[in-house]
Symmetry: C2
Subunit: 419 residues, 2 copies
């Protein structure tokens, strides 16, 4: 029975290694959260700059943009350091192939940031193109967080990562809504397509925040509910949403609304960031707690007196219903290791069940990714083109992105194969 115990110990050691990896990933996620927040602010200020916000508050926001770019650069430097501080030895990271590819993508986007800013400085780029460039960088960063959430082997930590990823994704939709509002008021005229996009951003945001609410620990959720409670900021945002989204297409929009919209929305974004920071702290603590627990369990396992015993029989003689009847087996039976093995398989199965339930919450994004991957493979499209095709189809048919993605997967056999 020593042999079974050897593998129980090895299993626990692997579990600890996986938790330690998760702890490293969580530290990275925390830093990415800060970076995304800084980029979202820079994107907003760049939009204000490009739209010139009807001439209002230009200087103030121009200075703010300069300061924001400096802040972004400082955090970008820290993010780069985190990346390059990673031990990229094969085997050190469970999902290395996917994680590192995502990071390669981010680094490439990051290298292009100075060129993007130069073109914004020169007003050589439409606000839409500038916004899209920032969106692409943030999407790359969120994809890194998603990899972490999708590969976490512990249900409790996975719950927290699902809550955090959805909050971050919801916040990004909020950031895009801020930009869209600036664009709408900045343009000074109501536009049907922009209104539709605006409503889509509100709906996507709310769906993410619902998933967050389902998986969040109590404290961040309570704070979020408090932040959502009616106050002056919420009132301004809701009023301007109504104005912007209901004005008949072609009608003028008051350019003076751009700055109050931007400022109120920025307060909201900052409040969201405080909650994200809380989630990140909770994540770190939970990793540390689980590692301590797993180490204690390993020590208990290694201290088992039965490790030295050499039993000659075990408890697998079973009746017709598959139940172990170890009691029949006599005195040479090594009960404790049998129980350890049973406990372990029970624990793993229960953990796996919980983990799959939690991960199911990531299913919507995965379905969209699968549909995208399918289109890319079958129709030789790039990632951007595949996403655009899905989104365009959803808009044309007035259906949700997820529904179109599901339809694509269901119709997979009808799509022509590659080549």
């Amino acid at each position: 029975m020593k042999s079974a115990l050897h593998f129980l110990v090895a299993a626990r050691q692997c579990e600890i290694a996986e938790l330690e990896q998760l702890q490293r990933t969580s530290a990275l996620v925390e830093r990415l959260s800060q970076f995304i927040h800084a980029l979202q602010k820079e994107r907003g200020l760049s939009n204000v700059f490009l739209y010139n916000a009807g001439g209002h508050g230009d200087a103030r926001h121009g200075d703010a943009r300069q300061a924001q770019m400096a802040e972004c650069d400082a955090i970008a430097e820290a993010v780069r350091e985190s990346f390059f501080g990673m031990d990229t030895t094969a085997g050190h990271w469970g999902h290395g192939a996917r994680l590192f590819s995502r990071i390669a993508y981010v680094l490439q986007e990051l290298d292009a940031l100075p060129a993007l800013r130069a073109r914004i400085d020169a007003r050589d780029l439409s606000p839409e193109a500038a916004t899209a460039a920032f969106i692409q960088l943030v999407a790359g960063l969120l994809a890194v967080v998603f990899e972490a959430a999708d590969s976490a082997p512990d249900p409790g930590i996975s719950r927290l990562l699902v809550a955090m990823f959805n909050f971050m994704q919801g916040k990004e939709f909020a950031g895009q809504e801020r930009a869209t509002g600036v664009a709408a008021f900045g343009a000074g005229i109501s536009d049907a397509q922009r209104q539709q996009h605006w409503l889509h951003l509100i709906a996507s945001q709310e769906r993410c925040l619902q998933v967050f609410a389902e998986f969040s620990p109590p404290l961040p959720l309570a704070l979020w509910r408090e932040a959502c409670a009616a106050d002056a900021t919420v009132a301004v945002i809701e009023r301007l949403r109504r104005v912007g989204c209901t004005a008949a297409p072609g009608m003028p929009l008051d350019g003076d609304m751009a700055m109050p919209w931007f400022d109120s929305y920025t307060l909201r974004m900052d409040a969201m960031q405080a909650i994200e920071a809380l989630l990140a702290t909770e994540l770190q603590q939970q990793c540390a707690r689980r590692i301590t627990e797993a180490r204690a369990a390993l020590q208990a396992l290694q201290a088992e007196p039965s490790q030295a015993a050499m039993p000659q029989a075990s408890g697998f003689l079973a009746d017709g219903d598959g139940q172990a009847h170890s009691a029949r087996l006599g005195p040479q039976l090594d009960r404790s290791v049998i129980e350890l093995v049973q406990d372990q398989s029970q624990r793993l199965l229960a953990m796996q069940a919980e983990l799959e339930t939690v991960r199911a919450a990531l299913g919507e994004r995965k379905t969209v990714e699968r549909a995208k991957g399918l289109l890319m493979a079958r129709r030789q499209l790039g990632e951007g083109e595949a996403h655009k095709l899905l989104r365009q189809t959803a808009m044309n048919q007035n259906r949700r992105l997820i529904d179109v993605a599901e339809a694509v997967l269901a119709m997979a056999d009808l799509l022509p194969p590659a080549g």
Copy 2:
């Protein structure tokens, strides 16, 4: 841009490490396939021995049983060697925690094999209890194979493992059917519950073999179809199936049918094993091929002349539709690395999409496992008890196991929480 390339290289290295792990797992799976086959035969011969087969062929099959036990022991020794030859260093195996727990379970069951045989020798065990004990050991071995199939990171190899796992699972249902037939004819009387179980084994077997047919490469599938084509063996099995499954409960069954049933079915099992061996060879070859490919891709990546270049911009400036417009960016652009990053993300997404599609085929078993895990956690049951509860409910309600499992998961909120 060197930085992005660094992570592309790291991603490829991780991919190679994962494929090498898969190659080791595949070698293990091949050995387990042989071991399961030997155990299935020993189970069948033990049943014949315990039922005494109406006095027919007892000596011949008794000798065969002794020889089979010796063969089992030899393969068991090789399996143990494979297990103990594994480098259990944390991080060396991607899903170590689960894989090693499964192995601990198998080793514990293996240690109990001598005691099981001693009780069979002494006819101190009902044929049902002996069968159940063998079923439990085989289930433990199949769970190791399932872990491998579920964690394979390459869609092509995953397909093959899904085909192989389902073939092995189907063959195990076939082995159980062989035992059930021996029991039915050996008992000499028709029994309603046994008939129901028999039909259930035929149906489960066919479902597994359908999944195999869907995922198998052409050659093993062609051989399997050939083996299924009407011949003398198939004719005997089908005729005895009909006799055994349609006899009115309480009516006598001809004990003389036990040996023809066993012998014909054993020919079928041996034919299945030949196909399994072919699948195992194909698996090894595909692993080797993919490793060679991945190494070549890594070399090509490392030989990229652009690795030395230090570009100042990249292709992430995008228009409103998220499409990269790198052409605008001027001469300092390092096209090749941008393309490499894009190719990699396209490849990963397509691979992931295919992988999820393939893994969906494992969903049925996973759903049952999830339901089992849920029952274990919420009602403080052991794995065997939870499985029994699901199976009993399915039988009582005349529904499939998978449907009951889905209902359990859907009703999760109604089950009392643990504690």
